[in-house]
């Protein structure tokens, strides 16, 4: 299992399309309502990311995506892989994804540490896993199978969660790093999800972030969340319906300081504003990344020997 990716890596597709182009630093999650604006205006963003599930059974949308692909590096962010499903992955779905990937040559392909299929039913959310040895074996098996079926390395995204299971034994950051190490997959570090999950369970998001090894992180996400409260405690919902909060930008700056200028993406899915508002968010990400690098250098200059992690806390 540990060598799954090494095997996939020899399967022989050209590597050029899989490597991040130099320009692909700050990207935007492209949603259907902005497709026409993109086609007409070709706005200046470094890359685009889409949910491939929306293009598998929609021929005209797929043609428009392939048209855009000529001008933008593309990332396929799978929301329906169900990498945590005990039932395993759906071979037909994987085959459709593979065909789209072969056609569109994405430089990144990602999925989530979550599940959404059970008993032949698909539930349109990223559902939480118990973090146990059994789950670890299931996720590792599924990630390896997905990488093999897609012929590509996957990045695995940390989820936003609202509940934990009593029998979880492994902290989430340890769990996701173990999955990556044992499958050869990389990590998609969703800074907003770290913030949301840690706020909901009273963990330190900095400790979570610092647990992730820089060499595994291949992409960063930022997005807005809804800040609610229940029983005198914060309850944050990852709804992608508002601008990125200041707290998440601060965590993002720290992420860039630790992981470098890996491709960063702004996600906005509900209450979609006009495209210029989203493009402005991408520009903010660019400025925040520059600040994050400066802050990291300052920190290093002040305390040269402060590197090194404590055990991660969130489970």
């Amino acid at each position: 299992m540990a060598y799954a990716w090494a095997m996939v890596g020899t399967m022989g597709r050209g590597d050029a399309s899989a490597r991040a182009p130099e320009s692909a630093r700050f990207g935007l999650g492209l949603r259907a309502p902005h497709m026409a604006d993109f086609l007409a205006g070709r706005p200046a963003v470094g890359w685009i990311e889409v949910h491939p599930e929306n293009y598998l059974d929609n021929a005209p949308a797929r043609a428009r995506l392939l048209d855009l692909r000529r001008d933008y590096p593309l990332s396929l962010h799978c929301v329906g892989l169900s990498l945590g499903s005990a039932d395993g992955l759906e071979p037909e779905h994987l085959a459709s994804l593979r065909a789209l990937a072969d056609e569109s040559e994405p430089f990144l392909v990602s999925g989530h540490l979550a599940w959404n299929t059970s008993g032949g039913v698909y539930m349109n959310d990223l559902l939480p896993l118990p973090y146990t040895e059994e789950s670890l074996a299931v996720v590792i098996r599924n990630v390896a199978a997905a990488q093999e079926a897609l012929g590509r390395r996957l990045l695995i995204e940390n989820p936003s969660t609202y509940l934990r299971f009593r029998h979880s034994t492994v902290p989430e950051p340890e769990f996701i790093v173990e999955v990556a190490r044992r499958t050869g997959a990389g990590l998609l570090c969703d800074v907003n999800n770290i913030y949301v999950t840690c706020a909901n369970f009273d963990f330190d998001p900095v400790v979570y972030l610092d647990w992730l090894p820089a060499e595994l992180v291949g992409e960063l996400h930022v997005a807005g969340h809804f800040r609610g409260a229940r029983g005198g405690r914060p309850l944050l919902i990852d709804d992608h319906a508002s601008p990125v909060s200041n707290e998440v930008w601060a965590l993002y700056r720290r992420a860039v300081g630790r992981f470098g200028l890996v491709p960063s993406l702004v996600e906005w899915d509900r209450n979609l504003p006009p495209l210029p508002t989203l493009l402005a968010e991408v520009l903010i990400a660019e400025r925040m990344a520059a600040r994050g690098q400066i802050e990291a250098e300052d920190l290093r200059a002040r305390s040269p020997a402060s590197a090194g992690g404590s055990r991660a806390g969130a489970s």
Binding site: W115, M123, P130
Partner: protein
């Protein structure tokens, strides 16, 4: 402790059937009841899937109002959940569900408006295929003609309704220039759903032509389609309708009896 497969089945029952008996005891409460925590995921699933239905069935949603629609859509999602993540293909059964949905029974035309919207949606996401030119018929013997079947454009659709669903659909559009009031007794329609480039449209057809084309679209032989058309309209002109089918660029393939 539940094995992962059982845990996921139990979670599925909590989401789709509202039955959290098996899952709640293994959720850490931590300031919130287990059911409140489960309800967050449950409402994410139901609301996002209902919203996907709302994109397809926008006219139905406007006709019944947001709250009624969400209620109906979420009941449909629980009873007939998606089987995979490609939600573009989800919701074919919603018109039939609406037809049997007691709270909407007074709106007799609602299910047929939904059927029109599903047809429009299918037309929008279908691939296009190059049209057949009439010279492909040149090599065929007259005796072969009755048994021929045709493949038509993948986006083509036919819908008949006893209600004026075309005008109801138009009137329901935001900023509509259609009739503000549609007389339900003004008669039914036979509609052909077409696509020009990326633009989906529909138009009414006379009874004979409608029966002819709808039968061909369902895979009937030319002979059977002509009979259906004559049954629907005595004055049906076969030669003219057959030529018009090709002038409209609808056939994309011809199959003989042996390959049909």
């Amino acid at each position: 402790m539940l094995a992962l497969r059982e845990l996921q089945s139990a979670f599925r029952r909590a989401v789709l059937e509202g039955d959290s008996a098996a899952i709640a005891p293994i959720v850490v409460e931590d300031g919130l009841f287990a059911d409140e925590r489960i309800a967050i995921n449950r409402s994410n699933v139901l609301a996002s899937t209902a919203a996907a239905l709302g994109d397809v069935y926008a006219a139905v949603a406007r006709l019944v109002g947001e709250r009624f629609f969400d209620h109906a859509a979420q009941e449909f999602v629980c009873a007939h959940p998606p089987t995979n993540a490609c939600l573009n293909s989800y919701g074919a059964g919603f018109p039939d569900f609406l037809a049997g949905f007691a709270p909407g029974r007074a709106l007799v035309y609602l299910a047929d408006v939904a059927r029109l919207e599903w047809r429009l949606h299918l037309a929008a996401i279908a691939p296009d295929v190059a049209a057949l030119t009439p010279d492909r018929l040149a090599g065929l013997k007259p005796s072969e003609m009755p048994a021929l079947t045709f493949r038509l454009k993948p986006w083509l659709g036919y819908l008949a309704s006893p209600w004026p669903v075309d005008r109801i659909w138009l009137a329901s559009r935001p900023g509509s220039a259609g009739d503000a009031r549609v007389d339900l007794d003004s008669g039914g329609v036979r509609l052909e759903i077409l696509r020009h480039g990326d633009v989906v449209t529909f138009r009414p057809l006379p009874a004979g032509v409608f029966a002819f084309r709808a039968a061909l679209a369902e895979g009937s032989t030319l002979e059977a389609a002509a009979e259906a058309a004559l049954g629907a309209e005595r004055a049906f002109d076969f030669a003219r309708a057959f030529a018009q089918l090709f002038r409209d660029g609808l056939p994309v393939g011809i199959l003989g009896r042996e390959t049909a």
